[in-house]
Amino acid sequence: MKTEGKNVIVKFCGGCNPTYDRLAYWEEIKARTGDDVTWVGADFPRPDGMLLICGCHSVCPLKHYKPADYGFFILVDSDRRSPEDVAAGIIDKEGT
């Protein structure tokens, strides 16, 4: 079911040695989600979901977040999955 206007946290790892261009990847997701998603910071109260974009499989920031605390939680640790696919997944997630 498609829900519009979701508030979704986007959080990046620090990017010490990323295996792909995280910002370009993110820009692509942002362009695909358009007005369906409002991107917010990590301190946003009661977000609909969270997108954590990490540069490699170490996914360093993951230990600081509990996926269960969010309506949905999407972790990206490489560019194997296309940004289009991630964007579609976010739009199709149930919102609150």
Partner: protein, 479 residues
């Protein structure tokens, strides 16, 4: 408080330090072409802290105030903090291809934090609370601090108090009711002409008779009596030019070091964190050295990533990238870069909590990391020179390329594979030249101490008797 790059530059403009460059007083460091590249590199630490894709490494939460601060002013609260420090250094090196200077002060803050706590526990002094007040100020204002350890040392065979000129080691000349007066100098002070404060520490273990030299204190660099004399670097005059010859024009060759002279500089007691406690000088020196040696696989690993990329690019541009020996050399360069990075991560992962609560890297592994830097960076540079070719050292000037008379020859005879102009090829060769020669290599050898200072640590911490015992057990030797 300094938040942005512009805030930082304005703060430097305001303080008007007493800086000399090539025999002349510098009125404004922020417009001096020899200093701008170093300011740009340090400014990157402020810029990245504001970027969402880097803030996870560039910022931390202060254990003193609970506020978000620059990681460069943070006291490590966990092994995770130690690892993030190394990750952060690699990241910034990718942006600058050069030293960005703030790690030295970062390490001085951490070493002094741990050691003042220990001094107070023995002597009942109040250095730790004084230092926390200073640290809070640095965190709140987001200031850049110089880590001031190395004294000129004069005749190395003599103790500080035996030198014919007592100023060859920084020392206290007077104790007053309101503070102390110091004289002497600190050498090779990275980033000092574009910093705000210096945290001086003793340069070595002090013994009886050297009490005046056992001094740790924080001093604003704009204080009366301080003079900074900028150090000459290889090819630094290329930064004065436009064009491509500087290689990495926006950033420094290395950190931008200066000789800092203290001519009867007054320091109030609230900024003094050690004064005569000779039995803690060795500990402070060892901690600072360990924290600083921890860094090198991060920053030099990151710089090496850029050198590897540039070398691969040069090979592509001149049509040699398919040659098996070139592939093998680039593979070897990557192996060396990841090896030095591994050392920094390892000493961080094996870090431990000190009595103060601050975390400290494993000293043996940190020294091993820096020791590898004194070798591997030379080897990475050697391989880069090998692959790039002699043209890197014999190319004409940028102005020749642009000359109406000879430009067409440079274009014609420096061209590489089809579709790559001579200018493009020259740019990457100049970058390699800039990052692999002269001052860069010496910095890898002597920054954070020369290899002998690391070898001394193997002797102290390497636990040779235990290794002998292991061998005897397996060989079934009972004697």
């Amino acid at each position: 408080m300094i938040k942005t790059r512009q805030d930082y530059i304005e703060s430097l403009k305001r303080q008007q330090l007493n800086v000399y460059y090539n025999g002349k007083r510098v009125e404004d460091v922020t417009v001096h072409p020899g200093i701008i590249p170093h300011i740009n590199a340090a400014a990157k630490t402020y810029e990245l802290a504001l970027r969402p894709e880097a803030e996870d490494l560039l910022t931390a939460t202060s254990h003193l105030t609970g506020k978000k601060i620059s990681r460069f002013t943070h006291i490590h609260q966990s092994v995770d903090d130690l690892i993030k420090k190394v990750q952060m250094l690699r990241l910034i090196s990718h942006e600058t291809g050069s030293c960005y200077q703030r790690c030295v002060g970062f390490d001085a803050l951490n070493a002094t934090y741990m050691t003042t706590y220990d001094i107070d526990a023995v002597y009942g002094t109040s250095y730790f609370s004084r230092f926390c007040d200073f640290l809070r100020y640095i965190q709140e204002e987001n200031l850049m601090v110089v880590g001031g350890m190395t004294d000129p040392k004069g005749d190395r065979s003599k103790r500080p108090s035996d030198q014919s000129d007592p100023d060859l080691f920084t020392h206290v000349t007077e104790k007053r009711s309101d503070g102390i007066v110091i004289r002497g100098a600190k050498a090779h002070m990275t980033g000092s002409v574009n910093s705000h404060e210096i945290l001086i520490m003793p340069t070595q273990n002090m013994t009886k008779g050297d009490e005046a030299y056992a001094v740790c204190a924080a001093i604003p660099l704009k204080s009366p009596g301080i003079t900074l004399i900028f150090g000459r670097q290889s090819n630094e005059e290329r930064k004065f030019e436009t064009g491509i010859d500087a290689g990495n024009k926006d950033y420094g060759v290395v950190g931008g070091e200066a000789l800092i002279v203290f001519e009867d500089v007054f320091v109030p007691w609230e900024r003094v964190f050690m004064c005569g406690e000779i039995d803690f000088t060795g500990l402070l020196v060892e901690r600072f050295a360990t924290l600083h040696r921890q860094n090198y696989g991060g920053c030099k690993g990151g710089v090496s990533d850029v050198i590897v990329g540039a070398t691969a690019l040069a090979a592509q541009y001149q049509g040699t990238s398919g040659a098996s020996h070139v592939k093998d050399k680039i593979t070897e360069m990557m192996h060396l870069a990841e090896s030095v990075y591994s050392g920094s991560v390892a000493c961080s992962a094996m870090g431990s909590r000190t009595p103060s609560g601050a975390y400290y890297p494993d000293p043996l592994l940190a020294n091993c990391t820096k020791h590898n830097i004194t070798r591997h960076i030379y080897e990475i540079s050697r391989l880069a020179h090998d692959v790039a070719g002699g043209i890197m050292a014999t190319m004409p000037f940028d102005r020749d390329l642009r000359s109406p008379e000879v430009g067409r020859y440079v274009e014609k005879y420096l061209a590489g594979v089809n579709g790559v102009s001579a200018e493009t090829r020259m740019k990457v060769l100049r970058l390699i030249e800039n990052m692999t020669g002269g001052t860069c290599l010496v910095e890898s050898m002597h920054g954070a101490g020369p290899p002998q200072s690391q070898r001394v640590m193997y002797q102290r911490l390497g636990n040779l008797p235990q290794k002998i015992k292991m061998a005897k057990k397996l060989a079934k030797i009972d004697e």
